[in-house]
Symmetry: D3
Subunit: 320 residues, 6 copies
């Protein structure tokens, strides 16, 4: 049975479905009866939930956060929709259709990944080729890479977003590299593949999009650089070391791809290839962010609401 999405619920419906429960709190009414206040959420939004006649036992059993199957009813309370929960069952994450809870790219992940590999096959430099192959051969990492979001909020913030973003950047690079013949294409392509690889370790995206402890303490730029060096160490251990100069030139692009210190790059771009990767990354991220903000805006105004990260509102009207 299809999931009843939060943004489809109207007042007066019988609810019998799985939702993510967030921030449950045990409270007592004026009469002294215990009840549980909580948020019930899926990828389309969240509502207040109230479970009257609750017990401390039920409260303790709730995941914080996690998935529960509830039976109850939607109602309007002071003009706000809420769900009165009569019955609760804990649901194992493994049994949940995560797509109901986490937004997912509209693209086809297999196709995008194949396209990416095809473009990576253009790399001729044997050392970069070996390094990229080593990453592609790491199935566990690639599985993460195929599913990770591009971020938690600003752009490509949905499952598969990292792959979509990487893939699109690669297409842009392949399209414009012939216009800049002084650049070393192999470096650009390998760096685009790896520039955000650290996001697989920085972000947590099993139930919601958030940061891991390591992600907050180190950041995906540093984490990605560590991955590249660990793969290179492994290759060296196998007798096929990567030249220090290659590792440094590649590492420099990863470190500098945010383009500015205040965005967490410890080094500013200092090679033509680093400049190109920085610009393509920014272009693709911003166009995703801008077109998504325009598309997601509700209402009829010619303008979206204020976009804090862009310090402007966006104009939605088209010229024809």
């Amino acid at each position: 049975m299809a999931h009843k999405f939060i943004n489809e619920i109207e007042p007066g419906l019988t609810i019998d479905d799985v939702y993510m429960v967030k921030e449950p709190i045990l409270r007592s009414t004026t009469r002294g009866d215990l009840y549980i206040a909580m948020f019930l959420a899926d990828r389309t939004g969240q509502l207040n939930g109230r479970m009257w006649q609750a017990s401390e036992e039920v409260y303790r059993s709730l995941p914080k956060p996690g998935f529960i199957h509830i039976r109850g009813r939607s109602e309007l309370y002071q003009d706000n929709l809420q769900i009165v929960v009569n019955n609760v069952t804990i649901v194992d994450t493994a049994n949940v259709c995560l797509d109901d809870f986490l937004a997912r790219t509209k693209g086809n992940i297999d196709q995008m990944f194949e396209g990416l590999k095809k473009n990576l096959a253009l790399i001729k430099n044997p050392q970069l080729k070996a390094l990229v192959a080593r990453f592609l051969a790491d199935n566990e990492l690639m599985e993460k890479f195929r599913n990770a979001p591009g971020g938690t909020s600003l752009h490509h913030n949905y499952l598969g977003g990292l792959l979509e973003h990487t893939c699109n950047m690669m297409k842009v690079a392949v399209a414009i590299l012939p216009l800049y013949p002084d650049l070393q294409p192999d470096l650009v392509l390998a760096a685009i593949f790896l520039h955000d690889m650290g996001k697989t370790a920085e972000l947590s995206y099993d139930m919601a999009f958030s940061y891991t402890d390591a992600g907050q303490l180190m950041g995906h730029i540093t984490q990605g650089l560590l991955m590249v060096n660990q793969k290179a160490d492994a290759l060296a251990a196998k007798g096929t070391p990567i030249d220090k100069a290659v590792l440094e030139a590649l590492g420099h692009i990863i470190l500098s791809h945010h383009g500015k210190f205040e965005f967490g790059s410890p080094k500013l771009p200092a090679t033509p290839e680093a400049f190109m990767v920085y610009y393509i990354d920014d272009l693709d991220a911003k166009l995703n962010q801008v077109t998504a903000a325009i598309e997601n805006e509700t209402g009829d105004s010619n303008w979206t609401g204020w976009q804090r990260a862009l310090t402007t509102r966006l104009y939605r009207k088209r010229i024809q």
Copy 2:
């Protein structure tokens, strides 16, 4: 006879050639004799010049700056090369091979302009088509546009640089627009053509690259916007007005294409098309600047000198 370039002159040569004279000053020696100190320049550099036994009459006749034919001799004075000038004739600018004095694009101007027009032919919106046609039909302006530099110092700072930059941006846009299907290609293409059109009025490039008074007082962004509105007024007077909404969307891209207030844009990008033009402009300008700085660096170091505008030195070593 080929021009003897400044950077080819060695000590002890007889000089009989045309140079640009800059900042001539009349001075007297300890003995009370008058002499003229001046700089002699072409596009490869400049040297000190000294004309002994000068008169106030000769001094007054000198253009400041301008071209002169000199006869004299190069010599080392305190380890510095200088030119002792024996005889001077004023040369009309019309008789000078300007290419000896102003750097020029390595590209073919006619071919680039044809390529640009071919890409502009992709525009389907009838109003943008009419507006672009109006510009292309302005022969005087197009002649300036084909020869203007892209700037005085940072990037594309040579004759034809503006065309080369515009042309390259157009190629990038045509290559990547299919990857961003939500954008309005006609707006992007027309805006790229016109984004720096104001530089034809902002810059002076008949003898050296500098700013006009109007350029310093108003700036090419405002000047370009005025041009677009004047062409639109002219079309309206002919009975084919451009919609206000089209003019505003196009004008917005021109105004915001520097992307940040501190770079002289009075408005920040607020449409997807404005973001794309801003990024393509910055990408093409920076890659030109970076590769030129690497190419022009003399010496054997792996690094260029400090690039003030980029707040870094640039790495010149390639990976293979």
Copy 3:
């Protein structure tokens, strides 16, 4: 009958008056009945309104925003005052006393405009005189100029505020120009008159203070500059062209009058006259903003609330 202002309504009153309706929403109660939630506003504030037993037809007929005549009653609901609306009639804007809905200058518009013209008559330069006369002769524009607010929020944010601000700046200039004899008074006076003329196009102020599409895309600085150039083109078409140098010097002041890039000026002041106009504009705007914030503060504290734009609270206590 005098309008009952929002800030005069107490609980338990019968309401029979015209208000602006904003953001009406059609909702259904738990029982499935439709009702309309809306804001009811005038220039003194806004209240929640509720129309129970509403129909989709009534909802559709409501302007969004616009004026309605309502019959109903004020009541306290959860400590908040709201208006229960029993009956609604749409009111044409033409029949509304706009002064009830938009704040208006305390000054006399006719007198201020006459004062302004008297000061403009001090201009002796024939070209600036002709240009100013051309603006004064544009009745439609002058009608807008006399009524436009000085801004939407920070200073002179009331009908006639633009005129009041311009008029006051002119008085300051006339008073202090004799102290700075090196400056060209005609340029200062003409520039003050025109510096914010673009606000007549940037702002919308028929029902509330907001920005037009063109205003958000281009900004009043650019719009004002376009107006000046269009008037100059019209004069030229009539055989009395304005010197390029005059237009540029005047245009420069308009472009630079915000004084800093981050406030939307594409050029920084580069003439003494531009510096004077920038300072007088800032002085008059800030003093209006500061004295209004002090005057409008309610409560007995010696200090106003935090003024975000000034990054301080303001001290209200006087020394005697």
Copy 4:
């Protein structure tokens, strides 16, 4: 006999006049003979001086810096004018016409000071009146105040410049205060008189314009505030204390009159009077700086050189 100014000296003249000697150094020639290199300066500039056949005794006797009477001859050495000094006599500062060495206001100091006092007489508040009178009665301080420069480099950087600047600000205030009736004129006038009083202690201007140790360690803003409090303490000791609230309101204007933290104000303007003093100070300083830069520019260009403090060049051409 009139002083021969540095900027009037041509090669080949006999020199017999007083100059300021700066940074004398004792050196030995290749042959082992001692000579003294020094700068010789007055208010129009400085030249290299060389005294051959010098002794350590002469060197030690030289003030560093100070005034000397020299006899010698001007000559061109490697295109640079220098003075060969044959004979040196130390000159006491008391016997020097300081006007030859320090630039001085073109205004009449007595007249300006009388004008200032006349405007200060407008103050009605008895406490501010008493405080101002206390300052005016301090003859030693007033003598410094009448002669101090307004600064070392940026604006009013000449003897009497502080008085001229204060006097001009007072005139501006008197002219525009009627336009802002909500402000307390007495506070504005007293604050303008005292806002830069600390410069009499911050700056040293007996031979050249520089900072005192206390000036560099504390700054004129803090020093001026201390003066105000010391005068108030003295008045209190005499039985006529100034109200704390008056002292704080006045002190706040002095502290905040630079308007921004980065210009050394420890507090931002928080009263209307503080805003007015800040703007009048900035306006008068910048107009002095801008018109002086334009006036002092040599050469024929329409533009001055780059003004680092204004981040622009200045346009010198007038419209008619």
Copy 5:
């Protein structure tokens, strides 16, 4: 009887205790009955209070803010706890146990103050010794100093916090001064004692932590500097003047101890001692702020909430 703290109140309790009343408002219900809405607070938080059947007389008698003894009952209203007040008595501040209302240092004030004096006894310079003694002898000031908070919100924001912070800085200085033998220890110790002395005048902390008028207008840096100069004037009047150079060096440290203009220092550190005091101040303040934020965080997350002043969240997990 022990005070019932706000954060210990559960629904359904009888309340008979003293609380601080804040922002009382007189309102009327729909039926026209008057009631008073107010906040009831102590140092653990605040709750809504409602007094039904109130009169204008009762309302007028309430301190705004101040202390009241209430009798009433706690209840849940729309899931929020509130207190229904039946009876109110005004309580004089003198009869209130302030510790229930203002947080207080966990340290022992007497012990800390003794420790501080012991460290101050290390000062050998007779003039600094005399100046410090003069401060220590000012009992009224020392009483304030012993009780003042270190600030209103960021760090050491509790009674005795200023002493605790000063005391801790002194310990750090005594511990590390031997490692920096070039510094003048007496200056460092005296400056630490006095660096925030102005906070006794800047802050008000009799009922809640806030700023005095003088504090907002002048700031504790300037106020502290004035105190130092007034003590020095008093010493001079007694025949033991402090050298100007000592006062300036000490004053410079006080003025510059915030280290940056944007934090309200009118001068940047320019002596080694000023640098040391700045760093020790910042280190001790930030470590207090960081460890307090970690300690006060509720919930189980490894991370605290966003710390706006630190622009990061803080990591709470320890390594073992």
Copy 6:
């Protein structure tokens, strides 16, 4: 024979010693004779050198840069001292007393290193203990660590400076950690040891202080983090893995120890230990820089020259 230092050379001496040659250039005189211009340097400064009657062969043989033994004579040329070189022999770096050419810490390296190890022995956490031991056991790295400078220019810019700085920071930490009992001392001590370990790879200091390619491309923060992870990988390979949480907490301190993005930290401090290391690092670096600038200032002024990195001049006068 003791080296004759550059700053001890007077005119007219016979020179027979080893100097570093920098930037040699082959030129020809007016007569066509070849000569070599070069700089001759040691750690006290540099002079111009001229070798007349040079040949292309000699020129080619010169290291660029490197060490040469010269015979010649010092002379004054246009008031500047220069060395006329008659004879040149190339000297192998191994045969050079590097201390003559690179400044060296005044501290005893062995003693400092022993002191450091003693403080490291305070670490109790077994994992941090193991990690630190692994570093101490890497003799090649420790040799570099003992000799590396702390930087190229700002602070501790001499051989052994890195050790001195690390050692001093450790002493500060050991002295003040007892005052902050909430912090984890082991983390602080280990992090101080390792915080700048990457400088051994970032800097080159065999002949002069400069950056390696890897240093410029990656930076010592990233390089140090890589070292820590490689040592941890090696320990894991030996069966004693370091907990991920320990590595991350330690890594975070290394990454954030510059405290601000603009100084190259990709993460801001987010643990109390990270804040302490950041402050101790900054304190020790700035005090070294400030006291060195004061000590190295020549002349009698109370003030040093302008310190660009500190945006102030420094006051040198002591209070007694």
